[in-house]
Symmetry: C2
Subunit: 294 residues, 2 copies
């Protein structure tokens, strides 16, 4: 476990350095937008998506360097989605990772634009990838655009927004989780595999891993929103309840929700079987995510 | 002139049909976002950027079909920028092309997401392009991402936002116009050339055409904001004055601004010389844009 934490810290540092290279410096004109992009991008995020991307590439026999553009692209994209989700017209969150959100620091106009800029930057960064024999760079761009688009990531945010104050069924909730969390997590992992020229069979294994891991991750987040304090979460706790959002604990109760989180994580780990020992790092990260206190 | 109007109407219809094919149908779940995307995309826009993209491809000996994904991508991108520009935290505009803006119809949250979705869709649509021998699809993606990014399109919006109520110099104003208008117009034209495998010399000619045309277009818009009624503009007139934005007429006066618009359009037409007769359509469109009553 200590080893894994060191591994995660090391990989996170590799991603940070690459992001620093890919992003315009904070003094590039107009400075405000580049400061705002960097404020949210370097806010102590866990770099979960890029680390999974890199680990997936290595599980398929690829080089870390070849997957770095994809890893950085998914982190830019994830950060954009957080900035826009936090806006007053969306979730209206004042804190994120223990710091004031972008619009609290820079105002709403710049926060909208900083999100737009990071979304655009994600695609620019992705074109630094050489792609691979099976998956040219344009296939990687399509993968990211589909996961981030109106049928997946944005669909989840819309359903979430429209669901406030309404009772959702388990099926609605699963759609939101799949769209809002699992889609980008799965794309992050698949993009690692694609950078490493993964065979269709290996890519399918990564897909099963990603989808179930994404759902597990979101169920755990739902649980933590109920059970943790704001201080420990680094963001406002109890937001889901306050916003009358339907959550797993609200629908199933805490115990069944915990069981579901464990079931999904098991399904995610089983999906990796075809990859054998090369996927041990991915397995360790998956297990680590389940072992968050919830 | 009547011929050109027919040509523009014909091309605009080709673009509309292609956009309709590329975009998710309005009933795809969640329907709200797909309705909102289509509401703004099919709002009677002139399709100037996609028409220029297609004409540039033909000026370089390319097929119209090969440039259609790029043409549709730039229109999705342009529409996203309008939706976000109109938001209350930005220009706060209630009308666009004579209709209520996205946030007036769908609310701010969905308007932010509809813009995000169209920006993402632009890159997805662009991956439907096969690229060309000199310019693989990833080069097209990079071209669009750079023009739309924090150093160009978004930089212009930031400078615009930060300039409200402040006196700008002619140099500031030129930066805003280059970034906010000329960058995407130039990219639209270059993407047409790249789809048609243009030689570096031809691509350079298209670039000069686009940059000067974009600046001319923006100077004319500044003039029209002063001289036209809201009804004729299809959007709120006098907004620049009301927002205390510096404009060409404010800095140079109307007559000198008109002269500058004509000088820029001449420069744009001269840039096309290396393309010879194949660029006659581009020339006609350029001349047509200058002949707006201003």
């Amino acid at each position: 476990m200590i080893e894994l934490k060191e591994y995660l810290a090391g990989r996170s540092a590799v991603v940070d350095r690459a992001l620093d290279r890919f992003l315009p410096k904070a003094n590039v004109k107009p400075a405000t937008i580049h400061k705002a992009m960097r404020y949210s991008l370097f806010a102590g995020g866990k770099r979960l998506r890029p680390v999974l991307c890199l680990a997936a590439a290595e599980a398929c026999g690829g080089e870390l360097e070849a997957a770095l553009p994809a890893a950085c692209a998914v982190e830019c994209l994830h950060t954009y989605s957080l900035i826009h989700d936090d806006l007053p017209c969306m979730d209206n969150d004042d804190f994120r990772r223990g710091r004031p959100t972008s619009h609290k620091v820079y105002g709403e106009g710049i926060a909208v634009l900083a999100g737009d800029a990071l979304l655009t930057q994600a695609f620019e960064v992705l074109t630094a990838s050489a792609g691979s024999a099976r998956y040219p760079t344009a296939a990687l761009v399509r993968e990211l655009a589909e996961a981030a688009g109106s049928r997946q990531l944005i669909a989840g945010q819309v359903a979430d927004l429209e669901g406030e104050g309404k009772k959702a069924t388990l099926r609605d909730l699963k759609f939101i989780h799949e769209a809002k969390t699992a889609a980008l997590l799965t794309a992050s992992i698949r993009l690692g595999g694609m950078s490493a020229n993964a065979t269709p069979k290996k890519l399918e294994a990564l897909t099963g891993f990603g989808k179930n891991l994404g759902l597990a991750f979101q169920v755990i987040d739902d649980i933590l929103d109920v059970t943790q304090t704001s201080e420990k979460l680094g963001k406002s706790a109890g937001k889901d309840v306050a916003a009358q959002k339907t959550t797993y604990p609200a629908l199933l109760g805490l115990e069944k929700s915990r069981k579901e989180a464990r079931r999904l994580t098991d399904a995610s780990l089983s999906a990796l079987k075809p990859l054998g020992k090369t996927a041990d790092t991915l397995r360790a990260i998956g297990a680590y995510l389940l072992e968050r206190e919830y």
